[in-house]
């Protein structure tokens, strides 16, 4: 029998459940449970991130002091096994502390960040690295072209490839998942993807070289990590907002452009700044300026994204309470 109806129905943006009573916020519909959740803070995220960034600073000091005190044979080379350990350790600390803090504060976290972390690592090794270095031969070109071309190449090829990969992981894996239930979850997923992505880039860098120097090699790994985490934070902020608001069409594109430009610029600048003047006492290379830039960029982006998210969540909460 043909059925005609003028009735309409809505589904919850988060869980997809058909709603008998529609609760709406900026053209997104929610069930009773998720209506009160999406503007909540993902508390373990900020604490785990601050803890891990603190570890990075401590590791940095450790490498600097160790380089002064260690015997020369340890300073010159760190074996690939140790290099890989240095490359993966910060990501492991972030993941473990995220779940530990979640458990301590009775904040339930889904296993999705781990899946996204692994996926980020796999895609960096299987897709972006072969594309950039085997098909486009970006490293050869970047190494021999002018400074303006290096900047353009880093933004347009490196920046957009890395950022789109991170975006695609979250947009096509996490976006429709019921585990993506808060704005700040966008930042958490983007950071998880960035940790996996950057860690594998670093691991492959160590494997390619066979061994790295204690100070310069380790600082290079930290610099790369900071650049990709900064990219992830910017991307996560825009995805997190867009997931729970029907934002204008250009909103995510603006986020992608910002994240890709920052990624490309930091990759360019961290390399360009590390080239210092060559003299009898200077080798023409110092890892510190690039590291300072990337760590400063990460700290600034982290505090900005955290502040903006918290402000928007507070405003949303106030607005919803006013409506209620």
């Amino acid at each position: 029998m043909a059925y005609m109806s003028t009735h309409t129905y809505a589904r919850c943006t988060v869980c997809g459940q058909t709603l008998s009573r529609t609760l709406e916020f900026k053209n997104r519909y929610y069930c009773d449970v998720h209506y009160g959740l999406f503007y909540q803070n993902t508390r373990p995220l900020w604490r785990a991130s601050i803890l891990t960034f603190g570890f990075l600073v401590a590791a940095l000091l450790g490498f600097a002091i160790g380089n002064q005190l260690a015997p020369e044979r340890f300073r010159d080379t760190v074996q690939s096994g140790t290099g890989i350990f240095i490359a993966i350790l910060p990501a492991l600390i972030w993941i473990i502390s995220l779940y530990r803090i979640g458990a301590q504060t009775q904040f339930q976290l889904s296993p999705l960040p781990i899946t996204i972390f692994v996926l980020g690592a796999l895609l960096s090794a299987a897709v972006t690295r072969p594309f950039l270095y085997n098909i486009v031969n970006l490293d050869i070109w970047i190494g021999s072209t002018t400074a303006s071309n290096r900047l353009m190449g880093n933004i347009l090829l490196n920046g957009f490839t890395h950022t789109f990969t991170l975006y695609a992981i979250i947009r096509y894996i996490a976006w429709d998942s019921p585990a993506f239930m808060r704005r700040t979850d966008g930042v958490m997923f983007a950071l998880a993807a960035s940790w996996g992505y950057a860690s594998l880039i670093n691991i492959l860098y160590v494997i390619d070289l066979g061994e790295i120097t204690l100070l310069n090699g380790s600082l290079r790994l930290i610099t790369q990590l900071c650049i990709f985490l900064t990219t992830g934070l910017i991307l996560g902020y825009f995805i997190g907002r867009n997931r729970f608001e029907d934002a204008p069409v250009y909103h995510l594109s603006v986020g992608l452009i910002m994240a890709a430009t920052v990624n490309g610029f930091m990759l360019y600048a961290s390399s360009a700044l590390n080239s210092t003047s060559l003299s009898l006492t200077q080798s023409g290379f110092s890892p510190w300026p690039g590291l300072a830039l990337s760590m400063g960029g990460l700290a600034l982006t982290f505090s900005t994204v955290r502040g903006l998210m918290q402000r928007q969540n507070a405003l949303t909460q106030a607005k919803l309470e006013q409506i209620a």
């Binding site: 997809g16 970006l138 353009m152 933004i155 347009l156 429709d176 867009n242 204008p248």
Partner: protein
């Protein structure tokens, strides 16, 4: 009530779900933007690969544009030699030589002189072809050759490389300008268009 009477969820017009029209267009826009950025990046890369630097020799009265990043050397019995420092195992190179031409000297004499000299200096040197042709509107003689580049140091663990080359001999009043191109045989065809651009920029 039966399902037929009340219909199902899918029969009802949906007013809200995970994806809105903005979300769908946004996803397309992001993909297009990425493709556009990568395209622009690849064009920038392609253009910069064909970037050139000018070279001028007032003494020889020639000017030419050579690929960016190549090294020039004026210390040999030539006007200039330009080499690609990144080429492995044989460095792709262009050599410009000026040979004085007396009234009795023919193009053939100059090419034979080159052949005799190279036969002594280079392993397994062979002339492959000599032909008259026009390059950038100028009549010239093209001589193709090949030789084997082997390191004289017997302890160097590297296979000898087959090298292919071309000489363009251009007659200019009482002198001959010889522009030589040499490249690893494997990369010869790939490097030829760059050499053709180099040749077309020659002014004398």
């Amino acid at each position: 009530m039966s399902q037929d009477l009340w219909g199902t969820d899918s029969d009802l017009p949906e007013i809200g779900s995970g994806l809105t029209k903005n979300d769908r267009f946004s996803a397309i826009l992001v993909a297009l933007l990425t493709v556009a950025a990568l395209g622009l990046g690849l064009i920038t890369k392609q253009r910069s690969s064909t970037d050139t630097w000018p070279y001028e020799s007032r003494e020889a009265g020639i000017s030419i544009n050579y690929p960016t990043g190549w090294l020039t050397d004026e210390r040999g019995d030539y006007v200039v030699r330009m080499r690609d420092p990144k080429a492995r195992p044989f460095k792709t190179q262009y050599i410009i030589t000026i040979v004085p031409m007396g009234g009795q000297t023919s193009t053939r004499n100059v090419l034979d002189g080159l052949t005799l000299q190279r036969s002594a200096d280079l392993s397994a040197y062979r002339v492959l072809n000599v032909q008259e042709m026009t390059v950038s509107g100028v009549k010239s003689t093209k001589m193709s050759f090949a030789f084997v580049d082997a390191d004289p140091n017997p302890f160097i663990q590297r296979l000898p490389v087959a090298v292919m080359g071309i000489d363009f001999l251009i007659l200019d009043e009482n002198r001959a300008i010889i522009v030589t191109f040499m490249s690893d045989k494997q990369m010869f065809e790939e490097n030829l268009p760059t050499f053709e651009r180099f040749m077309s920029s020659l002014r004398y």
